[in-house]
């Protein structure tokens, strides 16, 4: 029988999960939502970030979130490099659709298989002071391993929002998504702006990966679970809307959590697929799309 406690716990867990999902989706919101680049390999970079956190944690005992932050510049450079290859090979020639997709799929594949070659298919996890603890708020248990990533995720979302709306480069990114010609007239190079944006997206993956492995253990194939989620969130939230990404992430988090509580965990992946299809069928522009 459904108890209020059970549902309340599920909803709260879902909201916390949503904060984390927002972090994972930020990169795609940036690259797909604003730059129209279908980087389906983003979840693979997230997993890469997770493994980086694992290695640092198991070898040096470093806090995973700290690792995530420290690796951000490296991931930024990787992202910038990947975009340059993508731009030179596909975007410039106008052949993005088929070839670009296959390119990113190939990257996803290489990262995933590479990781399983190096680290095998056992679950990897991290240890930190706050994992395993929880607090109790009015009968609802809040686990720190969910709370901390959620808070960091919210901070990342806020940070990205501020960057896009308040800084020169951030506004240039918004501009490039709407009118490249005008941007050139202002003296900014659209390719450079897009490189920065893409690099930021992958940098976000580094930190979100660390958050991911904080929440639960990972295997290399975990990335595939997130493709559906990340694109469901980006579409539902509306392409180009960071606030929309957050709202959609929380909706998905709660929906998955309830689904898992009521029907068992193996169906939670179907939730993102269902939400994606529903959004595409009913309102492809998403909740807050431009």
């Amino acid at each position: 029988m459904l108890s209020w406690d059970l549902v309340a716990n599920a909803v709260v867990a879902g909201i916390l999960l949503g904060g984390f999902y927002a972090a994972v989706s930020l990169g795609v919101s940036l690259t797909f939502g604003l730059l129209d680049v279908v980087n389906i390999a983003h979840p693979a970079f997230v997993i890469l970030g997770a493994y980086a956190a694992y290695v640092m944690n198991s070898s040096f005992g470093l806090d995973p979130i700290l690792t995530g932050i420290v690796f951000t510049p490296l991931f930024y450079l990787i992202g910038a490099g990947v975009y340059r290859i993508y731009y030179g090979s596909f975007e410039r020639r106008g052949e993005e659709s088929l070839r670009g997709l296959v390119f990113f799929f190939g990257l996803l594949f290489i990262i995933e298989v590479g990781l399983s070659l190096k680290y095998g298919v056992d679950y990897r996890l991290v240890e930190a002071a706050y994992i395993g603890k929880s607090i109790d708020l009015g009968g609802v248990g809040i686990a720190f391993r969910l709370l901390v990533p959620c808070v960091v995720g919210l901070a990342m979302t806020l940070g990205l929002y501020l960057f896009l709306s308040r800084t020169f480069y951030g506004r240039a990114v918004m501009g490039v998504s709407q009118d490249q010609g005008a941007l050139r007239l202002m003296g900014a190079d659209p390719v450079r702006i897009k490189t920065i944006a893409f690099g930021l997206g992958i940098a976000a993956a580094s930190l979100s990966g660390a958050l991911l492995i904080t929440i639960s253990p990972v295997v290399p194939s975990t990335d595939r679970d997130y493709i559906g989620r990340v694109f469901a969130i980006t579409v539902l939230g509306g392409l180009g809307s960071i606030g929309g990404t957050l709202v959609a992430a929380i909706i998905l988090g709660v929906a998955e959590s309830l689904m898992a509580t009521l029907f068992g965990p193996s169906w939670s992946l179907a939730v993102s697929f269902g939400i994606l299809l529903l959004a595409l069928a009913v309102r492809p522009a998403g909740l807050f799309g431009r």
Binding site: F103, F109, L277, P284
Partner: protein, 310 residues
């Protein structure tokens, strides 16, 4: 090659296959040959949608496995014979293709691709939870004595020869028909094609359905080939990446590309499995795929064409 010549070649190939079957060579040839020919079907089927129409399907494992699991369901329910299994497997996956297409093809091509990606995960979850076909534990098929040739290895090999020839013939016929020209137009520029009178939605749905059909056909005999079917290996990532890599390497604009890619890459992988781990194998395929997409996007056929025109 004009149609009459193509048909003669097709019959000749089937004849060769039968000859090989009759010779009773090393059984490993039949097993490896089956896999390579299976990939000819898969790559050609994928390319009808991916190469001709320009819509990328990342969910090949879902289609392939659904073909296999439809067979299992029908074997369990009716002890259905192979031909029925093949047709039914194909029909079920054709419907899946039509369904996914109907839901997502009105939107940008990207959403179709993402949907096919998520599809694999969802279908796999469904199968894992369906105990009738074995679920996560797997299904064991007790094969009756082989009705032809007296030997299942030889029979399945010959069957795959026929299926491969049929699939390639169908793809070739489509490619050279008005449908193929319409698909090429919508691949090159969908907006312009629509404005030039090409019914793009209808053609896209046709391509997805046909592609889905043959992917299921490739999977339908699989239970007989492996005798023990379980979700992990049936939904193997191999199928996803090979279905893309083989047409990309061979060349996506014509029927010959996937065949070349399947034969080359498929044979290479069969040879490699005995020497390197399957994961390293996959990694290499992934790297080759990315290299081709970036450096030689028109595949080997494209390279040959460019060398010839110099």
């Amino acid at each position: 090659m004009r149609t009459a010549r193509a048909l003669i070649v097709a019959v000749a190939i089937i004849g060769l296959g039968l000859l090989l079957a009759g010779l009773r060579v090393n059984p490993y040839i039949y097993f490896a040959g089956y896999v390579v020919l299976q990939y000819v079907v898969i790559a050609t089927a994928w390319n009808v949608l991916g190469g001709y129409a320009g819509y990328v399907n990342f969910g090949t494992p879902a289609f392939f496995a659904l073909g296999a699991y439809t067979s299992i369901a029908l074997i369990e329910a009716f002890h259905a014979p192979l031909p029925v299994l093949i047709l039914s497997g194909g029909l079920v996956t054709a419907l899946l293709g039509l369904g996914i297409g109907y839901l997502t093809l009105r939107l940008k091509g990207v959403f179709f691709s993402i949907a096919t990606f998520a599809l694999s995960v969802v279908v796999q979850t469904l199968i894992i939870n369906w105990d009738y076909v074995g679920g996560a534990k797997g299904y064991t098929l007790i094969r009756p004595p082989a009705p032809v040739f007296g030997n299942w290895g030889v029979l399945l090999f010959t069957l795959m020869v026929v299926l491969a020839v049929v699939t390639v013939l169908v793809a070739r016929t489509i490619e050279r028909s008005w449908i193929g020209r319409g698909l090429a137009a919508l691949r090159d520029n969908e907006e312009a094609a629509e404005c030039m009178g090409v019914p793009t939605l209808r053609l896209k749905l046709f391509a997805t359905t046909l592609s889905g059909f043959f992917l299921g056909v490739a999977g339908a005999p699989f239970p007989y080939y492996v005798t023990y079917v379980e979700p992990a290996s049936t939904f193997d990532l191999n199928y996803a990446v090979n279905a893309l890599a083989m047409p990309m390497i061979g060349g996506t604009t014509t029927w010959l590309g996937p065949v070349i890619g399947a034969v080359l890459l498929g044979t290479a992988q069969q040879v490699a499995t005995v020497t390197i781990s399957s994961e390293l194998n996959l990694l290499i395929v992934g790297v080759v795929l990315v290299l081709f997409v970036v450096l030689a996007p028109e595949g080997l056929l494209g390279l040959v064409r460019r060398l010839r025109s110099r």
